[in-house]
Symmetry: C2
């Protein structure tokens, strides 16, 4: 299965549809009291994301036998990701008016509701893991630790702090590395790790999944940095050249576009190689969807 | 043990000291990268709260035998409460300059850092429950569900939405009831419930603990509303008459001061009676500390 084959696209669309149905099933209905809060949560959850983290979780989960559905974990990942975008867009952060071509949550619902909708999605993400997998408590605890660790002050939030507040700081490769590892790669790592944790694979396979996630997550952010330079706003669904305009530290700003493309390729190759090792070492089976997804991430245009 | 005895005060001080030592042990050190974020988290955690929710958890835990320490759960409760205060004080919420007589987190560290410090404390609270109790996964899952449910969009955050955004809404007893149940009582309920969940008491005792928490939590908020009318800023550590000034819906504004005092007494009596039932029905033992704490909450001046 190649990343641009009809087979891949059909499979990807199917998983996205599954995730979107699960989001509607596993988050509070928009009319739940207080309605303005739940409408804002749903608005941002349904504002047309790629569902990359949930689909990575589902793809990793498919490598090994499992009696547990990956969908609640997939929804938790999307709730977590959506919260981080809502808060990132707030006036005191990136002050963004558009996200995926639509008004950001605070532009649509006001700053107070956006703040609280973000808080609620973060809370829901971690609660949902415990609630949905309570019959397999050791797995549930592992999932809450995976996601809570990735989203915490030393990873996701730490990366946001250095990315947002540190604009005037030292533009060193070391700082770029910290931002990429934490702002982006930590949550993608959690997605792949959580997918494997939900299966019968041994804990050494979960550790290998973490390595795949880190390489894939770093590749994703390098491609994101490249697209900010080479993309246009219509395709990206957000302003192009925003990082350069804000003086943000990015891979191309530090290493140039050519080296950035080389790095994205090298990191994806590493992730693909590790996927092969994961399947071979721990007796998994694959039709190539996860590898095609990694190649799709490398070659995306938005 | 009465609520104003030296014995009670000594015991309360000891538990507060235990909680504060545990906060320092179970949250990231302030010099952790990024330091500004972790300093802000510690600043608000150490800004001199009463530690009421952690001590309620410890007091409920002491009613039954247990091999698990209540301290990580106590710290999680304080992290959750502190996050809710940091976000509540932000300019788009109550826009408060002072909290417990000190500059609020965003006044001290700026709005961006305060937003992210709140996010980080919320994440840490739920992660810590899973991490600290991973060797007892069924208990850990129960605790994440207790705290995540109490802090979620239908309880704590829902109450904040109605309290903050609904100022112009209908000032009915029904709406006041929704706000009190959710903005305040849900987290106090979680504190007492989690304390009992960590013991060997059966699940029916956990359900009874939830009833105690609801009565105690409602009493706490009625007293809070009374103090906003009768207290002075120096004692409260925050502006007096702030609710009246903001046109907030409170128990005294709807029912008058006399009826408010009667309600606080009645709710506390209920909580005390339920504590007796909990101990008697499920074979617990008590030296009266939890009941003295409930009476202390009723008679507090700040």
């Amino acid at each position: 299965m190649t990343h641009d084959s009809p087979e891949f696209n059909e499979r990807l669309s199917r998983h996205v549809a599954e995730v979107e149905a699960a989001i509607r099933r596993l988050t509070p209905a928009p009319e739940t009291r207080p309605a303005v809060l739940h409408e804002a949560m749903r608005y941002s959850l349904e504002a047309g994301g790629k569902r990359l983290r949930p689909v990575l979780c589902i793809a990793a989960h498919a490598l090994f036998p499992s009696v547990l559905s990956p969908l609640p974990a997939a929804v938790a990942l999307e709730c977590l990701h959506t919260y981080s975008l809502i808060h990132d867009d707030l006036p005191c952060m990136d002050n963004a008016d558009l996200r995926r071509g639509k008004p950001t949550c605070h532009k649509k619902f006001g700053e107070t509701t956006a703040l609280l909708a973000g808080d609620a999605l973060l809370t829901h993400a971690l609660w949902l893991l415990a609630d949905a997998y309570k019959a397999a408590p050791a797995v549930a605890v592992g999932l809450v630790r995976d996601l809570g660790d990735a989203a915490g002050s030393r990873k996701l939030i730490g990366g946001q702090v250095e990315d947002t507040i540190g604009t005037a700081g030292a533009n060193t490769p070391e700082r770029l590395d910290y931002i990429h590892h934490n702002k982006t790669a930590a949550l993608i790592t959690a997605a792949i790790t959580m997918g494997v944790r939900l299966t019968s694979a041994p804990s050494a396979a979960v550790a290998k999944a973490r390595e795949i996630g880190m390489a894939a997550g770093l590749a994703f952010q390098v491609v994101d940095d490249i697209l900010d330079v080479t993309g246009d706003a219509a395709t990206l669904g957000k302003p192009a050249h925003a990082d350069a305009g804000n003086g943000k530290l990015t891979y191309p700003s530090l290493h140039g576009l050519g080296a950035s493309r080389g790095k994205a390729c090298e990191l994806t190759d590493t992730a693909v190689r590790l996927c092969g090792e994961l399947v071979n070492e721990f007796g998994g089976t694959t039709d190539g969807f996860l590898v095609a997804l990694l190649r799709n991430m490398e070659n995306r245009i938005n």
